[in-house]
Structures are given as structure tokens and as C-alpha cells.
């Protein structure tokens, strides 16, 4: 299930955010503007960057200004409300790295992401699929993939 894992969940959910809660998508992009932040889940390392109001998810080793690391198990507990972020951080279940200013920007972007996600009728199903994948996930897994541009605030006529 690794390929149906975190990158797919994050990329799909950002696409949904862009189409169903564009205000929130713009707010996330604005808050991360000019930054590249990292999210590592069970060693699957992704970066999210924001350039010109566009969010890009990549598997990348490029430097990031702030990074959060957690296991899928912890991520699931956070997503279903069984664990609070502050408790997970204090217990080292989520580790954070970066300058304070960048971590605050990262955290606020995360809040905006979820404030948008709960406005998206398509989000619960994507979350459900991801959580089901976590339920059955084997440790490790394939770690390949190409960058995913996830939506844009600048629409072009087609």
C-alpha cells in the first residue's frame, strides 16, 4: 500500500482543496509562500513548496526550512482525533525541525489546510481511503515518484 500512501493522499487532498475550497488553498499557498517544508512519514520524505500561489508536492532531498517527521500510525491517530498534536510533539512521536518562524508558518499552513479540507465534500472519502491504507500498510515500501503540482490559483482558459 506504500504507493497508495501519504504522497497520494497529500497530492489528492491538495487538488481537492484547490477545486473545492480555493480560498483555503490560496491561504495555505500564501502562508508557505517562498518556503519549502518537509514531511516525512515512515521515511517517505516529501516536500511541499509554494511558488507563485502554486503548491508543489515532491519526493525530494532538496533542503527544507522546516520539517515534521512521524509514523503513519501516529499520523492516523492525529487524523482521527485520538492524539493531540501538542502531546505527540512532547512525546517525540512527531519531531519538528527548523527555525521557529518557519515552523510557525508550517503549522499555520497546516491549520489552514485542515480548515479547507473540512469544507471539501470530497475530502472525507480521500481521508477514509488513506486511513484504510494505513490500517493495512506494511512497513517500508516503494519510495519512487515524480513531482506533483497540486493545483493553482491562476486559472487559464481552456
Amino acid at each position: 500500500m506504500a504507493e497508495a500512501g501519504f504522497q497520494i493522499f497529500l497530492s489528492r487532498s491538495l487538488r481537492i482543496l484547490e477545486s473545492e475550497a480555493n480560498l483555503a488553498y490560496g491561504a495555505v499557498a500564501h502562508r508557505l509562500s517562498g518556503r519549502r517544508v518537509g514531511i516525512a512519514v515512515d521515511g517517505e520524505r516529501l516536500s511541499v513548496s509554494s511558488t507563485n500561489a502554486q503548491l508543489l508536492v515532491e519526493r525530494s532531498l532538496a533542503p527544507v526550512v522546516a520539517e515534521a517527521r512521524a509514523s503513519r500510525y501516529v499520523l492516523k491517530r492525529l487524523l482521527v482525533g485520538e492524539r493531540e498534536l501538542i502531546d505527540a510533539v512532547c512525546a517525540d512521536e512527531v519531531s519538528l525541525q527548523g527555525e521557529l518562524e518557519d515552523l510557525i508558518a508550517f503549522y499555520e499552513a497546516l491549520l489552514l489546510y485542515f480548515l479547507g479540507a473540512v469544507r471539501c465534500p470530497s475530502f472525507p472519502e480521500v481521508l477514509r481511503e488513506f486511513l484504510a491504507g494505513v490500517e493495512h500498510a506494511a512497513p517500508g515500501g516503494a519510495q519512487t515518484g515524480s513531482p506533483t503540482r497540486v493545483g493553482s490559483l491562476r486559472r487559464t482558459a481552456s
Partner: protein
């Protein structure tokens, strides 16, 4: 056995629910006017269990979505020693709501009127909770049309505050057989906007004993910061009929202390990431005194536990928090020289900011 005094009135109550409790429905599909919200809300209390079920349909106004499409949700909250709950979402294909009738179906779940009784069936997808209930109205409904709030369309409300419930509720491997328990139902609709300048407090008091004829509903609509009341009222029923309405300056409402729950259960569960706080402005005790002439009512609600249903605002990125507060309610008073006493379990609602 139902007391003789309620036997025939129960028939009238069933008829009144059929005549008034129908789904109003959205006009979005046929004249493009969007923004309709409508839900059926049910609560039930038996020893060791509080249950809340809510069927809601809301116009889906996402760009590119066919006019008339709705978002359908089933909210289920149960409280034994602590809260458990979830929200299930349903596609257009899984949703069937008949306007002009009380007939709502979301996949295998339904709320419908059959022979004057409300039949409820629900089985949550990811939560080990299911229920089959038949709710027989004891009181006639009261309808409040056009509750005006600032900045959006009014809220419409119909309440049937007392029904007799039969059936069963299953939670994990536990089975609650419901036989004549007290239940509550209300129904809201309109094109009001979450996040606008309004908040409410409401609750009900229905006795556990079927022999006790009194039933009460308290409602208070205020501005969002709770600085100015827009309306407040106590409705009182004796048997099936509403016999008193206290309103406006006839009520004095007081909050005493603050409830300090150790952990607040939240729906959708993912919202704990956004609204992690367990601090609420729910009072430790709600006290209401209503008085007109020689008639008076004293109400005390003692909250014991709170769950939050967190709703995204319609026009900004904020949220509105509906606090579902379980507790004990006690009412005493005198109406036309007759003593009023009610004691029972209840779930009061308090709206707050995120």
C-alpha cells in the same frame, strides 16, 4: 401502559407531526436559489446512554456541480461513560429525500414517518453503532418560522419535544433495548449562513416518567458574542398541548461557573488538529427563571459532559462550534395554580466560536 389521558391525544400528536413535520426541501434544483440547509435532529435517553442522531442535507454549491445536488450527512453521537461518534457522508446516488413528506434515506439509513410514528434506522460505516427506533409523538409540534438573525435568511424550526421510543441501540457488543424511553425531535431549515452574527442556546426537559404530563423547551437566540439576546422563550406542554409560552423579558437567564471537561470529544474527528482546545464557555449550571403574573417556571440544567460538532463557516475560514451538552435538567414551577415538576436527562446545545 400509557395513561388514559394520553391515549387519544397521542393520535392527534401523530396527525399533527404528519401535517407539519414534512421536509421543506431546497429550490436549488428548479429555480437555482441555493444555500438551503435542512436537518432532522433526534435525541434519546435511557439509563447509561445518551444518543443523538442528525440527518442533514445541504445544497452543494461547489463550482461545476449540477444544480440541485446536496451534501448529505448523518451525525451520530452516543454517550455511555464517554462520547463516541462519527459523521457519515453520502453521495447524490445514495440520497433520497421526499419533499412534502417526512421521508429521508441515506443509503441504508432512514428517518421516515410511518403510521404517524417516526421510524429511524442507522448503521454507521466506521463506528460500531447501529439503531432501529420507532418514535411515537406525545406532544403536538410547535413551529417557529422566521427566527430573524443578522446578515442572512431566517432560521425555521419545528419541535416535537417528547416522543416515546421503542427499539434497540447497539454499541459494539452492547445492546440497549428501548421500551418507552423519552425521546426528542426537532427539524430546522432555511438559508441561514454559518458564521453570521447569531448563536443559540436551547434544551428540553421531558420527565422519565410517562405519568408526568409536563414537557418544556427552552430557546435563546443571541448575537454571536452573546452580548445581546435576539429572542428567548420557554415553551411548556401539558400532555400533548402547549399550555404556556414565556418570552422576552419574562425570562431571566443566568450562567453559573464554567464547565471544565478534561477532554472534549470533537466531530469531525480531524478537527481536533484545528481546534484542539478543551476549554469551553459552557456554564457549570444554567439557571432560567420565567415569570408572568402568578405563573412561574424555574429551570436548572447541570451539564456533565460535552461533545463538539464543528461546522465550517459558510463565508470565511472560521468555524462554528455546536456544543452538545449532556446533563440533568430539573424544572419546578406553578401554572394556573398547578404544580409543575420535571426531572430528566437532556442534551442542551450551546453555539460558540472556534
Amino acid at each position: 401502559m400509557m395513561p388514559p389521558s394520553l391515549a387519544d391525544p397521542a393520535h392527534r400528536a401523530r396527525r399533527a407531526l404528519a401535517d407539519n413535520g414534512f421536509m421543506r426541501r431546497s429550490r436549488f434544483g428548479w429555480d437555482g436559489i441555493a444555500g438551503h440547509k435542512e436537518w432532522l435532529h433526534f435525541a434519546l435517553h435511557v439509563e447509561g446512554l445518551d444518543l443523538l442522531v442528525n440527518f442533514s442535507v445541504v445544497d452543494d454549491v461547489r463550482p461545476g456541480i449540477r444544480a440541485g445536488t446536496e451534501q448529505s450527512r448523518l451525525v451520530c453521537l452516543v454517550r455511555e461513560k464517554s462520547w463516541l461518534g462519527d459523521i457519515d457522508h453520502f453521495s447524490r446516488d445514495e440520497t433520497r429525500v421526499v419533499g412534502g413528506r417526512l421521508d429521508v434515506r441515506f443509503a441504508h439509513n432512514f428517518a421516515m414517518l410511518k403510521n404517524g410514528k417516526l421510524e429511524l434506522s442507522a448503521r454507521m460505516r466506521d463506528l460500531p453503532v447501529s439503531l432501529e427506533l420507532s418514535l411515537d409523538p406525545v406532544t403536538l409540534p410547535t413551529q417557529a418560522n422566521n427566527l430573524q438573525v443578522e446578515g442572512c435568511d431566517p432560521i425555521n424550526w419545528i419541535v416535537v419535544p417528547r416522543l416515546l421510543a421503542h427499539g434497540e441501540v447497539r454499541i459494539e457488543d452492547r445492546r440497549y433495548v428501548i421500551s418507552g424511553a423519552t425521546a426528542y425531535h426537532d427539524h430546522n431549515w432555511g438559508r441561514f449562513r454559518w458564521g453570521k452574527n447569531f448563536a443559540w442556546e436551547w434544551g428540553y426537559a421531558a420527565p422519565d416518567s410517562r405519568q408526568n404530563p409536563w414537557t418544556l423547551v427552552f430557546v435563546r437566540l443571541s448575537d454571536r458574542p452573546h452580548l445581546a439576546d435576539l429572542m428567548q422563550a420557554i415553551f411548556l406542554w401539558k400532555g400533548e398541548r402547549q399550555v404556556r409560552l414565556f418570552r422576552a423579558g419574562e425570562l431571566r437567564v443566568r450562567h453559573e461557573g464554567l464547565l471544565r471537561p478534561q477532554r472534549v470529544f470533537k466531530l469531525p474527528r480531524v478537527m481536533r488538529l484545528v481546534c484542539p482546545s478543551n476549554v469551553t464557555d459552557i456554564p457549570k449550571k444554567l439557571v432560567v427563571r420565567a415569570e408572568r403574573g402568578r405563573d412561574y417556571i424555574d429551570l436548572e440544567f447541570l451539564p456533565t459532559d460535552v461533545a463538539q460538532v464543528i461546522i465550517p463557516n459558510d463565508d470565511d475560514l472560521g468555524v462554528t462550534i455546536i456544543h452538545e451538552v449532556a446533563g440533568k435538567v430539573a424544572v419546578s414551577g406553578r401554572i394556573d395554580g398547578e404544580r409543575v415538576l420535571i426531572e430528566g436527562s437532556s442534551i442542551f446545545e450551546f453555539l460558540g466560536d472556534g
